[in-house]
């Protein structure tokens, strides 16, 4: 983070609750705190269903009607949690926050070609006018995201997963928003395309944009992120520098450690058990039933102190002579 510059996005105590029929409450996000600065990428990682996408929807004002939020999420001086739909639709989405969605094929309009959707977004968000100019601008937008221009006349269902993702990326970059929010931007892409996509996103970060990237692709996160936030059962349980997280000393929260170890290039062992039901979270550490390090103290909630929310974080190994020299 660049010291002295205000963050683009500042999230404080953000919580999201879903009210389900029968009075059930689902605690999808609880008490999230983080900043994203210009020129910085924060990767938000975690197990499926832990609340990552809900957090993104909250920032965009795209939560369903049965959701309740608390806390604040400041984009400049606008609180995204209390801004009205009109403000969000007219000045935020696409203009101040560029969204690269999960399930791109489902996000694109099925009945229209990629060209017509791209031209429409160009017309809506930029000053470009006139048929020929729009056509050219749409082609540039496609190229920028690595979408082959000879596929522009296709409909979303005629695209492979990888191409649909690049179409969605192209749309998100058109408005040149200061904050990019990418929800699983590399899903369905092969390794080369993952690298190209995240390198492209990194270029936007290096051009002083802020990027919040939600991903389950740990290799992509390692490639692009400056910092990593790990989410478990709706809470951020670890927030650390990417170098320390992926390299040495490695993750310090037992959950983050298990997630990294589950990779096929590591032990390929799933974390035992299941994530808790967000509708009935335990009072203490939500990871305790799956945690090999749990003791009695874990029945109380561990606060986020320093980089981890854990009563018994894994030790930061003593620095090796090589690490000190480096």
């Amino acid at each position: 983070m660049t010291p002295g510059r205000p963050p683009v996005l500042s999230v404080r105590g953000l919580s999201v609750r879903f009210l389900l029929p029968g009075g059930h409450r689902v605690a999808a996000v609880t008490d999230a705190h983080f900043d994203v600065a210009p020129g910085e990428c924060l990767a938000l990682i975690g197990e499926s269903g832990c609340g990552k996408s809900v957090l993104a929807s909250a920032l965009l004002g795209l939560l369903p009607a049965n959701a309740q939020t608390a806390g604040s999420a400041l984009l400049g001086d606008l609180d995204l949690l209390t801004a009205g739909e009109r403000t969000l639709a007219r000045t935020v989405r696409g203009r101040r926050i560029g969204l690269i969605p999960q399930s791109p094929a489902a996000h694109l309009t099925p009945v229209r070609t990629i060209r017509s959707q791209t031209e429409e977004v160009v017309a809506r968000l930029t000053g470009v006018r006139g048929r020929a100019a729009l056509r050219a601008a749409a082609e540039r937008a496609a190229e920028r995201a690595g979408f082959p221009t000879d596929h522009l006349d296709r409909h979303p269902h005629e695209l492979s997963g990888g191409l649909a993702q690049r179409a969605a990326t192209a749309l998100a970059l058109i408005g040149d928003a200061p904050l990019l929010l990418a929800d699983e931007p590399t899903t369905g892409l092969d390794r080369d395309l993952v690298d190209r996509t995240v390198d492209e996103l990194r270029r936007h970060v290096d051009a002083d944009r802020a990027l919040l990237m939600i991903t389950h692709d740990l290799a992509a996160a390692e490639r692009v992120a400056d910092r990593v936030a790990v989410m478990y059962a709706g809470r951020i349980v670890e927030l650390s520098e990417a170098d320390a997280f992926f390299g040495s000393p490695g993750p310090r929260h037992p959950y983050s450690r298990g997630l990294l170890e589950a990779l096929p290039e590591r032990s390929f062992l799933p974390i035992p058990g299941l994530p808790p039901e967000l509708g009935s979270l335990p009072d203490g550490c939500a990871f305790a039933p799956r945690c090999a390090h749990a003791t009695d103290i874990c029945t109380t909630l561990p606060p986020l102190t320093g980089p981890v929310a854990c009563h018994r974080p894994l030790p930061a190994p003593a620095r090796t002579p090589e690490a000190i020299r480096a």
Binding site: L20, I45, G46, E47, S48, G49, S53, P64, Q102, S103, A105, A106, P148, E158, S160, G161, G162, L163, E184, T187, G188, L189, D190, R191, D192, L193, H216, L218, G258, L259, L260, A262, L263, P264, E265, F268, L269, P270, I271, L274, E277, G279, S280
Partner: protein, 225 residues
Amino acid sequence: MLELRTVTAGYDRRTPVVRDATLTVTAGEAVGLLGPSGCGKSTLARVAALLHRPDAGEVVLDGIRVHHYRHRAPRDRRTAVGVVFQQPRLSADPRLRLTDLIAEPLRATGRRSSVPGRVAELAETVGLTPDLLTRRPHEVSDGQLQRACVARALVLRPRWLICDEMTAMLDASTTAALVRAVEDYRTDTGAGLLAVGHDRTLLNRWCDRTVHWDTVTAPAAKTLA
């Protein structure tokens, strides 16, 4: 055996996306098919799953040539193959609760009485908790929905499984858990597997052998970087 013999397939006969693909999976074997994005892997996977009629070539399932695809395929052939796709949102009926999504193939084939037992058993296998089973697709995450899609693919005890990028949307732990669920099922039943994807590390770790798209298809096949 599941045999794909010089299969040519696509969406326009003049420009097939799969050309002369030949691939055999023997009983109980797990084969990984590795290829870059957009190469046509998913199209070939749909042919193998009897969901897409090839323009040329043939599919031979357990020694019998396949003549009918999609809803025209006879029931015993359709139910011999279980399929899991990459994007659960596109393959799951949004109106069904997860429990009904999993049970639907049982109901469709007149096995209503086995629904409660089989759904509970599979929910356990794929790691779905009871509260999730009563929700509809828009009320669960992609990973949770994919767990349900895996359970659905296993519900009729298929002899063959086709997994097209099954874990592409999933985190590392869910990936490892679902691969284990599929492998436990295969250990119990001896089912064969064709796993399509582009993650070399994953397919090598998962499958008995991994073949590359270029060695399976004719070199003329259109690839798109």
